[in-house]
């Protein structure tokens, strides 16, 4: 086996190990966080601080009866939750988590797939997510599920445009699709102490990206595809047991990868001012991953905070925001960034 293949496998393993922890940890954070916000205790019985609650949940999910509605399209009904995990478990490959290191005498980039089309690949994979929701809603043979699926597809398509345009604006001054280049571009400081992160010069794009990210992950205030009080549970109304849990995991992992992407595009990725990344390769990798995860965690906490603060949009208002506010804003931002790039400011 070649050294490259081994290295890639090791990096994939590291990512997978981290990502699969996201769901249980985030469920705990979400429940305890919401309890803190809502002036109550939250789950605190299973293990210290209720930390093993997620474990109990997992056992519960596995023991629940797995029901497939009689009139459902069996194949699609089964396929949909699996598909929900595809974008969640693939998009991380292009996200760099450290500078190139020298391990065992060879140059190793700290990214699983340093593809030149990095961002394009990521966006393509991420947009697969909507198929899972549409399939779930369509195959369940339930009117509420169908409504949820219709909402999901319309919402994802509308917000993906704004999201992509915001990302394009980030790539313009960098001149590359590679996320490692984007991180490299953000190194250094303005005035010697303000980190040269994209969030500052491209702050409109950052705003558009964050809002669109909420919509992409179907989180409140954009959780219309599930909209508990309106559509019962939307596209996953007819799902139970582990199939439901897969949607759940997909949602949280999707949040995690989008948070990593946001950190990479706008907050300098693995780069932290005054952190020089020296030492053995494993220490550099750990530091890089630590910084990236730390930044992504901020986003995740922000996701939780927003969820428990805002009411939900109505569908037409969501569409209006997407097409009439975010998209024009993203286009203007793109034009401005393009002009500044051509003018040599950025």
């Amino acid at each position: 086996m070649s050294f490259e293949l081994l290295a890639t496998l090791a990096k994939t393993g590291l990512w997978m190990a981290l990502l699969l922890q996201v769901t249980p940890i985030m469920v705990w954070v979400e429940r305890r966080g919401s309890a803190m916000i809502q002036d109550r205790l939250g789950p605190n019985r299973v293990g210290p601080l209720g930390l093993f609650q997620a474990l109990a949940d997992a056992v519960k999910f596995m023991c629940k009866e797995d029901i497939t509605p009689a009139e459902a399209d069996k194949f699609l009904h089964r396929l949909a939750p699996l598909l929900a995990l595809v974008p969640a478990l693939t998009t991380f490959v292009v996200i760099p988590f450290g500078p190139d290191v020298t391990a065992f005498g060879r140059q190793v980039p700290l990214v699983v797939a340093g593809a030149e089309t990095g961002v394009l690949l990521l966006l393509a994979l991420a947009s697969l997510g909507v198929y899972s929701l549409v399939m779930a809603g369509y195959s369940s043979n339930n009117k509420y599920s169908l409504l949820g699926a219709i909402r999901a597809s319309a919402q994802m398509i509308s917000y993906e445009l704004a999201l992509t345009l915001a990302v394009v604006a980030v790539l313009l001054p960098v001149g590359s699709f590679e996320l490692s280049e984007v991180v490299r571009y953000q190194q250094g400081q303005f005035l010697g102490w303000i980190p040269k992160w994209n969030a500052l010069p491209q702050f409109v794009g950052f705003l558009v990206f964050v809002v669109a990210a909420f919509a992409e992950t179907n989180r409140l205030p954009f959780d219309l595809p599930e909209a508990e009080s309106e559509l019962v549970a939307g596209y996953h109304t007819e799902y139970s047991s582990m199939k439901f849990a897969l949607f759940f995991m997909g949602e949280y992992m999707g949040m995690a990868t989008l948070s990593c992407l946001a950190a990479t595009l706008y907050l300098g990725g693995w780069h932290l001012p005054f952190l020089s990344y020296s030492g053995p390769w494993w220490w550099v990798a750990a530091q890089g991953m630590g910084v990236l995860v730390g930044k992504a965690t901020l986003f995740l906490l922000f996701f939780v905070w927003v969820r428990w603060t805002f009411p939900r949009f109505r569908f037409d208002q969501l569409m209006r925001l997407g097409w009439k506010v975010l998209l024009p804003l993203a286009v203007l931002n793109l034009i401005a960034v393009a002009a500044l790039t051509v003018g040599g400011v950025l």
Binding site: S34, I37, Q38, L220, E230, L231, F310, P311, F313, R314
Partner: protein, 557 residues
């Protein structure tokens, strides 16, 4: 009365009522008279409060339809009684004059078999389609049971009135919202016809929680009805207790002692706060703002603590008795109330800061399910929902009872008539209720007994009943025969958390009510729902239902 002169003699006969003017009207003149009463600007009885039947098997005209009218402008009440013979129980429908009559007439049909000519949809409303007979007739055995099968169920098929929206291009969908749906607070069912997500037509089905409270009341003594009243609007059960006990007290011609009246006013206001908390909390939850729900429920829990300290129960308190209260107030009652007064405003401030100016909440609620004041009155609305449509109508202010005329408070009125103003009115009312409670606490607890000192009404203390002959006899008589309420009829009302809560009681002089009709504030409000949500989306329907504060226990009784 010049109005009456043009009717044939004996067709409209004013009689002396115990509580309000009463006219006995012949059914042939009813429609004309009603139209005139409603339209005439001088009299202007614009609100049909209640319509109910009554059954008197001994009389030549066995049934009676009883209308309670109200003039919002002049704050006057009028009762119309229309005798109806058994062999031809038909009378004209007034649904064209007061829209509120629509559901009330269906109820009277359901319960008594009165048929209203000209009613477009005279179906059973509270009982099941497979039900036979009319439960509130005196010859209907209360113990009778039916096997209700699904094949006899009425299947609503709402269709939009205008043919043009039946576009072949797009498939339309009929969707069942409820009876078990997360947004249905209680068990209603709305069958909606959807064009995309827009509701083009809908039908509301109720009755899933019907237990025929009124029939139960007729088979129990006057005191035994009190726990059943808890289960009407179970979010503010104490107000129901007060309403019912006041009705019986006015039939008896007695008044509760000052201490009981004082406590009733305070606890009613706390119950109102609780009810508004539940209503606004669930409205916001339906809009996706879950956190506010917990902020609302914290004060509610604490108020339950107070009620528990008084009565031993939290939800269904049954704390009132005819002539006073069940138990004396706990020793730390005042301190407990003051603690609540201090903690509640903080939560309300938090909530108002979170949502009052929140763009998303404003977008979701302003202009949604709006209704004008005039329309709302015609539909029979009362209470906070009506006040949110710009009509200052509050029983506490217009027909003061208990201590409401001795304290300084305002009736909040907002003009919008939409979900947002209904939410805001409730928030303002919570503050007003706190104001009332604070003033009463500052005045101090009146000395004296908690229940009237009349052995024919109030049970003697336990130790007396065990040790004194006389007290034991009174105790026995009260338990076995009930309070002997003199014959008569009364319509007594309090301001419930959701509007005018009326109890219309007829006594034949025995220990049990002859007829007891509740005027549930949310019944006419819910009858409007189908009209309110037409043209809105499913999300609008869900949010507006929360804001109407429809409580199944009271709606379906």
């Amino acid at each position: 009365m010049p109005l009456l002169e043009k009717y044939p003699p004996d067709s409209v006969v004013p009689v002396a009522g115990l509580d309000q003017p009463t006219w006995i009207v012949h059914r042939d003149s009813l429609k004309e008279l009603a139209a005139e009463l409603q339209a005439d600007s001088a009299s202007g009885f614009d609100l049909l409060l209640d319509l109910c039947g009554a059954d008197f098997p001994g009389r030549p005209d066995r049934f009676e339809a009883i209308y309670h009218l109200y003039s919002v402008e002049r704050k006057e009440r009028l009762r119309l009684k229309v005798p109806v013979p058994e062999d031809d129980p038909v009378l004209p429908s007034l649904a064209g004059i007061w829209k509120a009559a629509n559901w009330f007439e269906r109820e009277a049909f359901d319960m008594f078999g009165l048929r209203f000519e000209g009613h477009k949809n005279l179906r059973r409303i509270l009982t099941h389609e497979a039900f036979e007979g009319h439960p509130l007739r005196k010859d209907y055995d209360a113990a009778r049971r039916w096997i209700l099968t699904e094949d006899k169920v009425y299947r609503p098929q709402p269709r939009p009135d205008d043919g043009e929206s039946d576009d072949d291009m797009f498939e339309q969908m009929t969707i069942n919202i409820g009876p078990s749906h997360p947004a249905m607070h209680g068990t209603f069912r709305v069958v909606a016809h959807l064009d995309g997500e827009v509701i083009t037509a809908s039908e509301v089905e109720i009755g899933y929680l019907h237990r025929c409270f009124e029939k139960m009341a007729e088979t129990h003594t006057w005191q035994q009805v009190i726990p059943y009243t808890d289960r009407l609007n179970y979010c503010s059960s104490f107000i129901n207790n007060v309403g019912y006990c006041r009705a019986v007290e006015s039939l008896l011609g007695v008044e509760a002692p000052p201490k009981a009246v004082w406590a009733r006013t305070i606890l009613s206001e706390f119950s109102r706060i609780m009810d508004h908390c539940v209503c606004n909390g669930s409205t916001l939850v339906d809009a996706g703002a879950l956190t506010n729900f917990w902020y609302f429920f914290q004060p509610r829990e604490e108020i339950y603590g107070l009620l528990e300290a008084c009565s031993g129960a939290r939800l269904t308190v049954s704390y009132c008795r005819i002539g006073g209260l069940a138990e004396d107030l706990p020793p730390d009652f005042e301190a407990h109330c003051r603690r609540l007064l201090e903690m509640i405003p903080g939560f309300m401030d938090d909530i108002e800061r979170l949502v009052n100016k929140n763009r998303i909440w404003l977008d979701r609620s302003v202009g949604v399910a709006a209704i004008s004041g005039e329309e709302a009155v015609n539909w029979g609305w009362t209470g906070p929902c009506l006040r949110a449509s710009g009509v200052a109508n509050d029983v506490r202010r217009d027909h003061p009872y208990d201590l409401y005329d001795t304290v300084d408070w305002n009736v909040p009125v907002l003009p919008g008539g939409d979900v947002y103003d209904r939410y805001r009115v409730r928030m303002l009312e919570i503050r007003e209720s706190l104001k009332i409670i604070r003033q009463l606490l500052d005045r101090g607890m009146p000395e004296g007994p908690h229940i009237i000192d009349d052995p024919h009404i109030a049970l003697p203390p336990k130790e007396d009943a065990y040790n004194q002959m006389e007290a034991m006899i009174y105790h026995f008589k009260l338990i076995m025969d009930g309070i002997q309420v003199p014959a008569g009829e009364v319509y007594s009302m309090v301001e419930g958390a959701n509007g005018e809560l009326g109890f219309y009681a007829i006594s034949d002089g025995s220990g049990k009510p002859y007829r007891l009709k509740v005027r549930p504030p949310c019944f006419p409000i819910m009858s409007t729902f189908s009209d309110l949500i037409r043209g809105g989306t499913v999300s609008d329907a869900v949010v507006s239902l929360g804001g109407l504060n429809v409580i199944a226990g009271e709606l379906e009784r």
